[in-house]
C-alpha cells in the first residue's frame, strides 16, 4: 500500500504535499493517476472486508469542499490514526474525485433544471460488467473474470484468492457451483477452489489479479490463458447453460430495435440462463439511483449527463429514472440462481428477478418493497416464452405494466412459425402496430490461407495420409507438363519393352549370348528407377521453393480465403416486433388543437409555369434574380404585347373570360 502511494509520486510522510496534489487535481490532470490508484486500492480493501474508514458524505448537497487551510476529512482521520496512511489517500482521493465529477456534472448539465426526482442521487454500480470509478483496469478479488482459452472455449471464473472469501461465498444460502461452461466437457469445480483448472494447466486465483487482458502463465509455467474483463458477450459464451441461450447476434439486434437505452425499463420474461438479462442490464444502466442522500461509504456522484429523466415527469407519479431490467422466470430454482449470479456480478441493483409465471400472473410489480418506482412501467418487452400470446394481454398501460408516457416496443422470441403467427394475431388484436416478423441469419467467418495446391497453409499433414492422395494439380500448365512427361515416359518404356521382347524372341530363336543380354536388361531397369527418382526429387525441390523454403514466409504464402464456420446456426428463432403507440382520444385532440391551433387551408397559390398549387408542398416558382437574358426579355415583351392586344380586343368585345389566357401568356 505504501508502495502504491509512492508510485503515484507521493510519500506518506508529507501530508501537505498530498493535499496540494489533491487540490491541483481539481484543475489539472497531473494527479488523476494517484486517484485511480487509490480507487483500486480502496476497492481491494473493501473486497477483502478490511476495516475501512468512513467516507465523507459525498452527496450533491453535502457541505462545500473544505477550505484549503483545514481539510476536514484529513483532520478527522488523523484523530483516529496517528499515521497518515494510504487510506487517507484513498478516502480523500475519492472525495476529491467526487468533487471533480460534481463540478463537471454541474458544468455539463447546463441550465440544469433539477430533475423531478432530484432527491435521488446517482451512484455507480460496483460491477465488473459496468464502468465506474471502481472499474480499475485490473481484475479484483471476488469479481468475475473470463479466462480465454481458445476462440471457442471461454471459462468464467469468480476470482477468490483467499480461501476464507471462497468459503464465505460457498456458505451463502443460495450458493451455486462455480459454473464451468466449456461446452465440450463439463468439469464441475468445487465452489471453494482457489485455483482455476483448465486444459492448459491450473492457475491460482491470486495470480489472476492482473490487469485485464493480460496473458497469464499456468502455475507449472507450461500453458497460458488470457484473463479478460467480463462483458455480456463473453458471459453469453461462458455461462452455465440452464436453458437455451439467446446469443449475441439475436440479442444485439433485439436490443437495438427495442430501443433499449440508458434509463429504459425492460420487461424480460423467461430469463432462462440470464444471457439476455446481462445484455439488457448493460443497455439500461445509467447509474444506480438512490432516493436517500445519505453518504454511504464509497458513493460517488456519477457523470451528470441528462438521460432518462423524461420518465420522471410522468403523470403516474413514479419518479424513478433509473434504468431497470424487470426479469421474470417461472422456474423458481433458475430464478434463484440468476439472482445469485447477478449479485455476484454487481447487477442486482439494476435487475429485479421475480419468480412468477407471467402467463397466469401478469407483469405487475406493485410491491412497495421492491423500490422500482411503483410498478413495472416498461418501455420495452422481451418475451422468450413458449406461449407469448397468453402473456401479451397482461401487458397494458392500465395495469401499470407498460409505460404510460412512451410508446412501448415488444419482441417475442419463438422458434416456430406457428407460435410467431399466433403471437402476431394477438398483438394485432391488442392494438399493437408495426408488427414485423423477422429472422436473424448470422454467420461467423473463418479466415485461412490456402496454398497453390489447394491445401491450407500451416495445417499439419494428417497422420497416415499418403502423399499420393494429396497430390493436386495447381494449374493447367502444370497439368499439361505433368501429363506430357508421364505419357512420354510410358511411351518410352513401352518402346523399350517392345524392343526388349523383340530381342528376346530373336535370342530365343538364336539361343546364343544369353548371359550378356540379361545384364543389359538389368541396367535398363535400374535406369528407369533412377529416372523416376530424379523426377520426384526435382518436383519436391520446386514445391519447396514455391513455399519460400523458409518458415518466415510461410504465413505470407498462398491466398487469404474466407469461409463460414463449420457449425452454423441456421435458425435460432423467429422474432416478432411490434409497437404499442400511446392512445389518442378526442379529448387529447381538442387539447392539442387549442394549444397549437390548426390554420385554415391557405388559398392555393399557383405556380404559373406548372399550374400547380405550391402553397402545399409543390415547387414554388423561382424568383427572378439578376439581369434577364435577351431571350427572356424578348419573351416577356412578347407576352406583354399579347396581353395588351388581348386587353384591347377585350375592351371591344368585353370578354373578361380571356384574362385567364393573359396570365398564362405572362407566365410563359
Amino acid at each position: 500500500m505504501e508502495r502504491n502511494g509512492e508510485a503515484a509520486g507521493l510519500s506518506s510522510s508529507q501530508p501537505s504535499n498530498l493535499y496540494f496534489a489533491v487540490v491541483r487535481s481539481l484543475t489539472g490532470w497531473k494527479y488523476r493517476k494517484l486517484l485511480a490508484d487509490s480507487f483500486s486500492l480502496l476497492r481491494l480493501c473493501r473486497a477483502q472486508n478490511s476495516t475501512f474508514p468512513k467516507q465523507p458524505s459525498l452527496a450533491k448537497d453535502s457541505p462545500p469542499a473544505p477550505s484549503p487551510i483545514s481539510p476536514a476529512p484529513l483532520s478527522r482521520r488523523r484523530q483516529n490514526s496517528p499515521r497518515f496512511d494510504c487510506w487517507d489517500i484513498c478516502g480523500y482521493g475519492l472525495y476529491i474525485l467526487s468533487r471533480i465529477e460534481d463540478s463537471m456534472a454541474a458544468a455539463q448539465s447546463q441550465p440544469a433544471p433539477p430533475p423531478p426526482g432530484a432527491s435521488s442521487m446517482v451512484t455507480v454500480a460496483d460491477s465488473p460488467f459496468l464502468p465506474g470509478p471502481y472499474s480499475s483496469h485490473t481484475i479484483l478479488p471476488n469479481s468475475r473474470a473470463i479466462a480465454h482459452l481458445t476462440r471457442d472455449v471461454l471459462q468464467s471464473v469468480l476470482v477468490q484468492p483467499s480461501a476464507a472469501a471462497a468459503s464465505v461465498a460457498a456458505g451463502s444460502p443460495s450458493s451455486t457451483p462455480e459454473p464451468v461452461a466449456n461446452l465440450k466437457r463439463k468439469q464441475p469445480t468445487p465452489a471453494n477452489s482457489t485455483s482455476l483448472h483448465t486444459r492448459f494447466g491450473s492457475f491460482p486465483h491470486s495470480g489472476l489479479l492482473v490487469p485485464a487482458g493480460s496473458q497469464v502463465r499456468s502455475s507449472s509455467g507450461s500453458g497460458f490463458i488470457h484473463i479478460l474483463r467480463p462483458t455480456p458477450e463473453l458471459w453469453t459464451l461462458s455461462l452455465p447453460h440452464r436453458t437455451q441461450v439467446v446469443y449475441t447476434p439475436d440479442s444485439s439486434y433485439i436490443l437495438h430495435r427495442l430501443r433499449v437505452r440508458p434509463g429504459s425499463r425492460v420487461i424480460e420474461a423467461g430469463a432462462g440462463s440470464g444471457s439476455f438479462t446481462h445484455a439488457a442490464a448493460r443497455a439500461v444502466y445509467n447509474g444506480v439511483h438512490k432516493k436517500t442522500t445519505g453518504g454511504q461509504s464509497g458513493e460517488v456522484n456519477g457523470d451528470g449527463t441528462a438521460n432518462g429523466s423524461n420518465e420522471g415527469q410522468s403523470p403516474d407519479g413514479h419518479d424513478d429514472s433509473q434504468g431497470r431490467v424487470l426479469s421474470f422466470e417461472f422456474h423458481a430454482d433458475r430464478a434463484a440462481i440468476l439472482r445469485h449470479e447477478l449479485q455476484q456480478h454487481g447487477l442486482h441493483s439494476i435487475v429485479t428477478v421475480t419468480s412468477r409465471d407471467v402467463c397466469a400472473g401478469g407483469f405487475a410489480l406493485t410491491d412497495p418493497e421492491l423500490d422500482i418506482g411503483g410498478n413495472t412501467y416498461a418501455t420495452a418487452v422481451f418475451l422468450d416464452l413458449p406461449a407469448p400470446w397468453l402473456a401479451i394481454p397482461h401487458l397494458t398501460r392500465e395495469k401499470g405494466s407498460l409505460s404510460r408516457t412512451k410508446p412501448v416496443r415488444i419482441c417475442c422470441f419463438s422458434p416456430c412459425l406457428e407460435q410467431a403467427l399466433r403471437t402476431i394475431a394477438v398483438l394485432r388484436e391488442q392494438g399493437w402496430v408495426e408488427e414485423d416478423l423477422v429472422e436473424v441469419a448470422h454467420k461467423r467467418l473463418e479466415v485461412r490461407r490456402v496454398g497453390p495446391d489447394g491445401k491450407e497453409i500451416g495445417s499439419k499433414p494428417r497422420a497416415g495420409a499418403t502423399t499420393e492422395d494429396d497430390v493436386r494439380i495447381a494449374s493447367v500448365e502444370e497439368s499439361v507438363a505433368r501429363l506430357k512427361k508421364q505419357l512420354w515416359h510410358r511411351k518410352e518404356k513401352q518402346a523399350r519393352q517392345r524392343a526388349r521382347s523383340a530381342k528376346k524372341r530373336k535370342l530365343e530363336a538364336n539361343g546364343a549370348e544369353e548371359e550378356q543380354q540379361q545384364q543389359d536388361d538389368d541396367s535398363d531397369a535400374e535406369m528407369d528407377i533412377v529416372d523416376d527418382y530424379d523426377d520426384d526429387v526435382a518436383a519436391a525441390d520446386s514445391r519447396k521453393e514455391d513455399n519460400g523454403g523458409s518458415k518466415l514466409h510461410l504465413f505470407h504464402q498462398g491466398r487469404v480465403v474466407v469461409r463460414t464456420e463449420p457449425e452454423l446456426k441456421t435458425h435460432t428463432s423467429y422474432l416478432v416486433f411490434a409497437v404499442l403507440p400511446l392512445p389518442w382520444t378526442e379529448q387529447d385532440e381538442a387539447d392539442a388543437q387549442s394549444k397549437h391551433p390548426i390554420p385554415p387551408r391557405p388559398a392555393p397559390q399557383l405556380n404559373p409555369k406548372t399550374g400547380r398549387d405550391y402553397s402545399c408542398g409543390g415547387f414554388a416558382p423561382k424568383p427572378m434574380t439578376g439581369k434577364l437574358s435577351k431571350s427572356q426579355e424578348r419573351k416577356l415583351r412578347k407576352a406583354a404585347d399579347k396581353a395588351a392586344r388581348l386587353a384591347a380586343a377585350g375592351d371591344k368585345s368585353a370578354a373578361a373570360s380571356d384574362s385567364g389566357s393573359v396570365t398564362q401568356a405572362q407566365g410563359d
Binding site: T405, R462, P581
Partner: protein, 669 residues
Amino acid sequence: MEVIQPHDEVLIQLPSETTKLVKVVPDQIIGLGKFGSFPANSLIGRPYYLTWAILDGDNFGLEPVSIAELNSEKLATHAPDAAAAAAKKPKTTSTSASDSPGIALEDTAVGIQVGEDGEDGEEDEDVALDAGTLEQELEREQRAWEKEMKTNKDIRDDQTAQSMTWQEIERLKKTGGTGSGKEIIARLLQSHAYIDKKTAFSLAKYTKRKSNKYLKRIRVIPADVPNLTNFFIAEKEPLKLLEMRDEAIGLLMSWADVRWGGRYLVIDDTGGLVVAAVAERIGLLAGDDARAPKRVSNARKRKRHDDDDDGADNEKEKEKEEIDEDEPWPATPTKRKSGYEQTEVPAANTITVLHAQDQPNLSLLRPFNFDATNLVNTTTHPLSTHLLSLSFLQLLSPESDTTLEKPAPIPDDTLRSLKSAKRSTYHRKCRRQERLLNMIAATRRGGFDAAIIATTMELSGVINAVVPLLRGSGQLVLYSPSVEPLAEVADWCSTLRRSEFLRLKQESTSSSSSMPSADPEKITSLDPDSINPDIDAETLAVLSALPKLPVHTADAHFPIDPTNLLAPTIHTSRVRRFQALPGRTHPLMTSRGGSEGFVLHATKVFPILEGKVEARGRFTSNRRKPAKQREREEQQKAEREASAVVTGVESTEATSAEAADEMAIDHVG
C-alpha cells in the same frame, strides 16, 4: 409524454411505402407532394406511431385512423364478403354508375365498410382465439381456405377488366372531400369485371394496391437511429453509410461493449451514423438538452435552407429569419461556461472521433439536433461536451498542428479597452486552444473501452494508431461493407504470423541486434523537425509530457503488431423479413441487395514479453498422434524454443476422450 415536439425531425411513412424526413416547425405546412399537405400544428403534441388520414377538400389537417380499421384491411377479413357484396351490387347499379356515381357509391361504401357478414366473420375469429386450441384453429383455417379457394382460370388478362376510366377517378378526387379515397376504391372494386372471380388473397392484394394509391394515410415515426438507418438505406444514398444496416449496428454496439459511462474511440466514415448509434447507447441523445434549441441562429438556418428543397418552407423561414435578425442576442451577464466553451474534458461517457480530414463529417447528427460544424447553436446538447473530435494529425503529431497555436497574448489593460466582440473572440480562441490541448492529453492517455471503426481507409494504419489507446481487454471493432479488408486484418493476426513475430522479436532482443521488423517498440517523442514554431513553450511542455505511445513500424510481413489483438473474429448478420398474414406467410419476395456488412472484433491484450510463451494443452486424438510425436521431438531438439506451434482446429477435435497426449499448441488462434 413522449410526443412530437415542435422543431422535432420526424419520419413520415407515406402510402407509397416510402419515408420522408420532415422537420415539424410550428405554423408551417408540411407538403407531401401528390399526397397533399397538412399543417405541422396537426402533428405537434401527438404521439408517434399513429396512423393519420390527410384531410382534403375544405378540411385541413389530419384525422386519426383506428388501429382496428387498419388491421381489418391488412388481414382482409372483410374482403370475401365485400367482394360478394360488390359482385352483387354492380349488376343492379352498373347502368347508372357512370352518370350518377353518388348513389351507387354510398351503397357500396356501406357494403364494404360495415358489411354485416364481415362483422360475423370477425366474431367467429374472436371465439376461435379464445376457446379453440391451436390445432382446431389451424384445421378451421385450412378448411376455410379450401372452401374459398378460387383460381384465376377464368380471369382474362386484359385492360378492359376495369371499366372505370381515369377521368372518372379524377372527377371523384376533385369532388370527393374527405372520404374520396374510400369512394374511389369502392367504385374500382365495383366496376372491376372479374372481382367475384378473384381469390380472397388476390382481392386483398388488389385492394391494398388501390388503397396505397388513393388513401392518403401517413404514419409518423420518431427519427431515432434505427429508423433513420432504414430511411437512409432505403431512400437516400446507402453507399454513404457504407450500407450499414441495423443488424450490423447492433453487432457493433454489442461487441464494442457500449454502455453508459464508457469512453469510446470512433472512426466514422458513415457521416455520423456510428457516432449517433454510440451516442444513443450512452444516453447522449436523450433528455431535454438533446431537444432542438428554441432559437436557431441565422447562420444555421441559412445552411438548412440550402439543403432544404421544400419551396414553401423556405419562403416562410426566410420571413422568420428576417424577424430574428432584428432581435439582439439576449445579453446574459452571468453566462455560465457551457458546452464547447468548457475547456475541461469529461472523464467518462465520451465519444472521441478521429477523423482524417480537417473537420469530422458528422452531417447525420443533424436530425438529432446537433450540428458539429456550428456548435454555437447546440451548446446545451450533451454531445457538445461529450463528443470530442481530433484529427489524426492532432493525435499522432500534435506538435505540428496549427490549431494548437495560442492567440497572441493581449495584456489585461489592452484587453479591457477592447470592444466586447473582440474581447470575447480572444477569450474564445484561448479556450479553444485549451480545450484542444485537454482533448489531446485525454486521448493520448488512452484507456479507451473500445474502438469502433467504420472506415474506408487502409486498416493497418488505423489499427496501429488506435490499438495502443485501448485499455486491456478493450474491444477493437471494425465494420466493413465487404469482407476482404477484414479478412486481411484477421490474416495479419494469424497464428503463424504471430509466432513468427514473437520469435523474431525474441531473437532480436537476445542478440540485441536491431532488426527493423522485430523492433516495433519505438518511442514517439516530439520530433524537432515537425514542431510548429508558433506553438508556445508551455503547450509544448504539456505535449512532451504526454505518455508515449508504442509505435509499431509496419513492414510487408507485419503490417500490425499481431500480439496485441486476441482472437479476431468476423461476423456477418442479415435479417430476413417475412410477410405475416394468416394463410399467406412467407419471406418477403424482394429485399435490398448490396453489401452484406461485416463486423470484426478483437480484444486488446497484453502479451507476456519476456521468456517463452507456450501453451501446452491436453488434447486427444488418435489421428494426430504421429504428428504430435514429431513435434515433440522437434521441440526437444530446439530446447523448447519460444515459438508456439500451430494448430487451427484443435478445439473442435479435442472431444474424443482417448489417449490423452500433451502437445504444444498455440491455443489463441
